[in-house]
């Protein structure tokens, strides 16, 4: 098989699994269905690793598969661009996807939508691969929206739950707001560059550095600034940056495996990937980079705060994801694209791990997600506990775990940057370190340490509580049969199909940091895939101080972020294990701040009232007044009435009485006579 055929096979194998299981899943049965899907993704994973090794050895590919559409001289094609950036993403996506596929066998074991679920996650893998492998903007947009579709289907997987179908509609619409900007960016590229092929666009980017766009009045904008900001709006939707972040916490309504795969490891990083891919364009606009930095920093810090006040185990991890996406975005903004991709990679492993650990806890406790009803689980679930500890240490940024290297690199890069907004960003990412460590270990301590707050002898909670719990509304209605039964007993460690992926994800969460920091950040790992201008080359400056991994760790241990992380862990330890009464006292002491955090800065309420409510009110007004009253009422029915009225008037003239007609004749005769005489 040639490499080209392999490139084609990699996305098509999961697609074949998805289509076969999607159409015939119930006939194939559960076993065959999940093996078909796993086979497809396994083929893609092995293929991706082969491609990655090939690319590392220097191979590159840029070619079209088929012409999608031709209009005039414009050719839009489906094609692949294989370079280190693509290959890295392919490996991350397929590996995490494979882990999640295996895990799903255990997690969804008795769900009636078992085969449908497998079909969806394989379809997702296909879409995500099309997105990262694309060599042009059309296919990028296709993958972009296709992953959005699968996300929509999976958030609403338990479609009887009102919260789930609210969340999936919200996710789709907020993403569409991002896509709206993204499409305009693509439109500007086509309008000016005359092509949507990456290589041609990037090659000509320099020509348009001085190009101006007249948007409003006489004010001129740099074409590339407007284009890059439009494209970045797309990234803000997909990668959940403030203010388009609102959909991600709600997306936790979906089953946990997809929270790990889609809403932590892969899909939400599509925006990060896209901006890194577009580095030749973003590099030409300091304004756009500055915008990216500020948005990313805001997300990194302010979403981290929200992680502290959540009690739902999945939502804590979700806010943590938002915050970490903010870190990646900041890295993009300061032109440390490779640091962003490096963090994307490590984050994919440890965050998928944390979500899958959360899922393991959730099934052990019979679908209990409230941290306040957990505790002491380390005795019951040692594998889950250890792997969650690894994930938390990586997330908090403790050496030698992967997150330490990638996060520290970002912080250093922000420190070295001179892009407007870097001061604010530096403060945000530093403060974020403390908060990240605090909420990650809050979660770990509340779930696995301390006293057990569930009933160890029986069910985690009664049916009455169940009904009161918003997140389980559909559950109680009997629409989602409890996969793990209410058969009581103490929590047990999950089966091997669940723990094996945990272990396999824990391994890269440990070692990918120190092994890849040097080649990815300071070496020639990405080749020409990422372009950085000399005046933005923060990583280049860091490279001058690079003395190897050991020195980096040594330096890291002596600098502020590490101590902030330790302080965060210590604070969590004190608040949740030593002095558990403290958090409540703090909560009441900072009342208004807590209310603000508890309401997530009121973004949801604002959007519901102003945008959703406003659109409905405007629609109602236009429908009632515009269509019904003015057009139909006045013009259409009005003309009908006018015709009726005129006919009624004219009818009076034809009364049938001879003397009426004779009178009219006489009047007419005199009128004519008058006119003739007066002439």
């Amino acid at each position: 098989m040639t490499m080209q055929q392999l490139y084609l096979l990699i996305p098509l194998a999961p697609l074949a699994g998805a289509v076969a299981v999607g159409l015939f899943g119930p006939k194939l049965g559960r076993g065959l269905s999940h093996w078909l899907c796993i086979l497809g993704v396994a083929v893609a994973t092995v293929g991706s690793i082969v491609v990655w090794r090939d690319v590392m050895a220097g191979a590159r590919f840029n070619g079209d598969v088929y012409t999608w559409l031709q209009s005039g001289s414009l050719k839009l094609a489906i094609g692949f661009l294989i370079d280190p950036l693509t290959a890295t993403m392919m490996v991350v996506v397929t590996f995490v996807s494979l882990m999640v596929h295996v895990y799903t066998i255990g997690y969804m074991a008795e769900d009636p939508g078992y085969t449908r679920f497998f079909s969806y996650i394989s379809l997702f893998t296909f879409s995500m691969l099309m997105l990262v492998m694309s060599n042009n903007f059309v296919q990028l947009f296709f993958g972009w929206e296709a992953v959005g579709l699968v996300s929509y289907l999976l958030i609403g997987f338990w479609y009887t739950r009102p919260t789930a179908i609210y969340a999936n509609l919200k996710a789709f619409l907020v993403n569409r707001v991002g896509d709206f900007g993204f499409l305009l960016g693509i439109g500007l590229i086509l309008a000016w560059f005359g092509t949507l092929d990456y290589a041609q666009v990037f090659a000509r980017a320099g020509e348009f550095e001085g190009a101006k766009l007249n948007l409003w009045g006489a004010a001129e904008w740099s074409l590339l600034t407007v284009t890059c900001i439009c494209l970045f709006v797309g990234a803000m939707g997909k990668s959940a940056q403030v203010p388009l972040h609102v959909w991600l916490p709600d997306s936790m309504e979906g089953p946990t495996p997809i929270s790990a795969l889609i809403h932590a490891a892969t899909m939400v990083t599509a925006g990060i990937f896209m901006v890194a891919r577009m580095s030749p364009l973003f590099e030409l606009s300091d304004t756009a980079l500055s915008f990216v930095t500020v948005i990313g920093a805001t997300t990194a810090l302010f979403m981290a705060f929200l992680g502290i006040v959540q009690n739902d185990i999945k939502r804590v991890v979700a806010y943590s994801t938002l915050s970490q996406l903010g870190y990646m975005t900041v890295a993009l903004g300061v032109s440390a694209y490779s640091a962003a991709i490096f963090h994307l990679m490590t984050h994919a492993f440890f965050k998928a791990l944390l979500f899958l650990c959360a899922g393991s806890v959730i099934i052990a406790l019979h679908h209990e997600q409230d941290l306040r009803k957990m505790g002491g689980l380390r005795r019951y679930m040692p594998v889950t506990w250890i792997t969650a500890l690894v994930g938390s240490l990586a997330l908090a940024g403790v050496p030698p775990f992967a997150g330490f290297f990638s996060k520290d690199a970002i912080i250093e890069a922000v420190h070295a940057s001179r892009i407007p907004g870097h001061g604010y960003a530096y403060f945000a990412v530093l403060a974020g370190v403390f908060i990240t460590a605090f909420y990650s270990f809050r979660l770990l301590f509340l779930a696995f340490h301390g006293k057990a707050r569930f009933d160890p002898a029986g069910q985690a909670h009664s049916h009455d509580e169940h009904a009161a719990d918003r997140h389980d509304a559909g559950h109680e209605a009997g629409d989602e049969p409890d996969a793990h039964g209410h058969h009581g007993g103490p929590p047990r460690e999950s089966p091997w199909v669940v723990t094996l992926p945990l272990v396999l994800l824990a391994i890269p969460s440990v070692f990918t940091g120190w092994t890849y920091i040097e080649p990815m950040l300071f070496g020639d790992y990405f080749g020409g895939a990422i372009v950085v201008r000399p005046e933005h080359a923060v990583l280049w400056e860091m490279k001058n101080e690079w003395r190897g991994v050991a020195a980096f760790v040594q330096h890291g241990v002596l600098s502020l972020p590490f101590w902030l992380a330790l302080a965060g862990i210590a604070a969590a330890w004190y608040c949740y294990l030593v002095n558990p009464a403290l958090p409540a006292r703090i909560k009441s002491a900072i009342g208004p701040v807590y209310t603000l955090l508890d309401n997530k800065y009121y973004f949801d309420r604002f959007n519901d009232t102003v945008f959703a409510g406003g659109a409905r009110r405007l629609g109602g007004f236009l429908s009632r007044v515009g269509d019904a009253t003015v057009i139909d009422g006045f013009f259409v029915n009005g003309s009908a009435r006018l015709v009726g009225w005129a006919a009624a008037m004219l009818r009076h003239l034809q009364s049938g009485y001879v003397y009426h007609y004779a009178f009219a004749m006489i009047v007419g005769f005199f009128a004519m006579l008058t006119w003739w005489v007066g002439r």
Binding site: Q70, L74, L173, G619
Partner: protein
């Protein structure tokens, strides 16, 4: 072979045969004659695709015969890359409609089938007529079967809707007759192609523009002459809605490319801002109106108006990308709107309500139907890899090229289209079972399944590989744009 004549007269002959041989007591015969007629009607159009030469903008499959020699009115037929696809689309949709009404229509089956078949022939006639009078005859005559379909097999308020539909479109097209006669006077020919070459002053062009515009804008329909469409859809039976949305609206848009743009190029360019504005109003304003509809058919009707806004927008951007996007949008909308109305029909046949509020949780009892509905809803919301994406994408790209803010307003459909379509899906398809009627629903039967499956295949096929559809248009669209660019003053 006179394929075009066959495409017109086979359905009409089949329709007449159904009328003659169909009996109310024995509806089976009427159905089978109708099915065979519709199938034959589709088969004779396939050679148009196979033997079509995409490298010329000349009319192909031309047929010419004298009709009224005194005024040089001819029976003149022909297709180019623009009209050919619509003949196929129409013949295909006719087959769908006959099949869709198979068991559903129990009342006056023969007349029902006959009305659709005859209408199909008349519609093909309007797409292929190259003589002004012949076009006018077909264009007006097709109002009669549609009027009957709404008025006889429609809902409770059918008489109001039918009369509104009839008067709206009739009044709109009265001035067109005057325009046609005027053009005959200056060119001494009723051949549409001759009119492309006749010089006209700007003032004349503007007056003619008004006359043609009223006729076609009502049919499209463009804002603000759109209010007949929601009423007509709501009252029409499923088949009527399908043909109305999938085909009759396209005749209005087709009129713009066959008459207005090439015959009145200067007026078209002079008034392009006006048309573009109306189109964008249709996209944005109607998008909001669609959001608040409680009746599914009304919602889809408004969605149609919004989608047709892209068609008129694309034509009046005067670029290859925009015009081809508009034509692709017309064909795609034919598939997607047909599918959406069929989906509503499937539910209506079971529950006898079109109100969103009467549904909820349909996915629980009709999972296969739900999968189709979500697919078509996504196509309606313009998701890539469905046909709904292609046209909108091209038109938005073309609009950004002309002016960023045009593209900006057009692209709002990404949000609005998704909002009104998926909000409806959420309330109808998802959720817990809402009431006893939903609990009793039976999933798709074999006929319904294959009906929707065929459309699904087309929607996805055209989204994944739109090239063949666009390739046949190239030369004709380039020729059209050349006509628009050349002043007649």
């Amino acid at each position: 072979m006179p394929y075009l004549s066959l495409a017109i007269w086979i359905p009409i002959a089949a329709g007449l045969a159904v009328l003659v041989y169909g009996r109310d007591r024995d509806a089976g015969l009427a159905r089978w004659i109708a099915l065979v007629g519709a199938l034959a009607g589709l088969l004779v159009t396939l050679p148009l695709w196979v033997h079509f030469n995409p490298h010329t903008s000349d009319m192909q499959f031309v047929e010419s015969a004298e009709w009224i020699p005194r005024f040089d009115v001819r029976y003149l037929l022909g297709v180019d890359g623009i009209s050919m696809l619509f003949v196929l689309l129409n013949s295909f949709v006719t087959l769908l409609v006959v099949w869709a009404g198979w068991e559903v229509i129990e009342d006056r089956v023969a007349q029902y089938m006959a009305a659709f078949l005859i209408m199909s022939g008349l519609i093909n006639g309007s797409f292929v007529a190259l003589d002004g009078v012949l076009f006018y005859v077909f264009f007006e005559a097709l109002l009669i079967p549609m009027y009957l379909i709404i008025g006889v097999w429609g809902g409770p308020n059918r008489v109001y809707a039918a009369i509104k539909f009839f008067l709206y479109t009739l009044v709109g097209s009265l001035l067109m007759l005057v325009a046609l006669i005027y053009l005959y006077r200056v060119s001494e020919s009723f051949s549409i192609l001759d009119w492309y070459l006749v010089p006209l002053s700007l003032k004349t062009q503007l007056l003619l523009f008004v006359a043609f515009f009223l006729a076609f804008a009502v049919k499209v329909p463009m804002w603000p002459v759109h209010t007949w469409l929601p009423d007509a859809h709501v009252e029409a039976p499923t088949g009527g809605s399908v043909v109305l949305a999938a085909i009759t609206l396209k005749i209005g848009a087709y009129g713009f490319v066959r008459f207005i743009l090439p015959i009145l190029p200067d007026a078209s360019r002079y008034l392009s801002g006006f048309i573009v504005t109306l189109s964008l109003v249709a996209v944005v304003y109607i998008g909001f109106v669609a959001l608040v509809q409680g009746d599914m058919k009304k919602l889809i009707a408004y969605s149609s108006i919004s989608h047709m806004g892209f068609v008129t927008l694309g034509f009046f951007l005067f670029s290859q990308l925009g015009a081809e996007g508009a034509l692709v949008q017309m064909i795609s909308h034919g598939f997607v709107s047909a599918a959406m109305f069929l989906c509503v029909g499937v539910m209506y046949d079971r529950v006898h309500s079109r109100q969103i509020a009467d549904y909820g949780g349909v996915a629980n009892t009709m999972p296969r139907f739900a999968a189709f509905m979500v697919l078509f809803a996504m196509a309606n919301a313009g998701l890539p890899a469905t046909s709904g994406f292609v046209g909108e994408f091209l038109v938005i790209l073309a609009a950004v090229k002309v002016n960023f803010w045009l593209g900006f307003l057009a692209a709002t459909t990404l949000i609005l289209g998704a909002a009104y379509t998926l909000w409806m899906v959420k309330r109808v398809i998802f959720g817990a079972v809402a009431n006893a009627q939903v609990r009793e629903l039976a999933d798709l039967n074999r006929r319904e399944f294959w009906l929707l499956a065929v459309l699904a295949a087309l929607v996805i096929g055209m989204g994944v590989y739109p090239k063949p559809f666009v390739d046949v248009m190239h030369t004709s669209v380039a020729d059209l744009l050349a006509h628009v660019a050349k002043s007649k003053l």
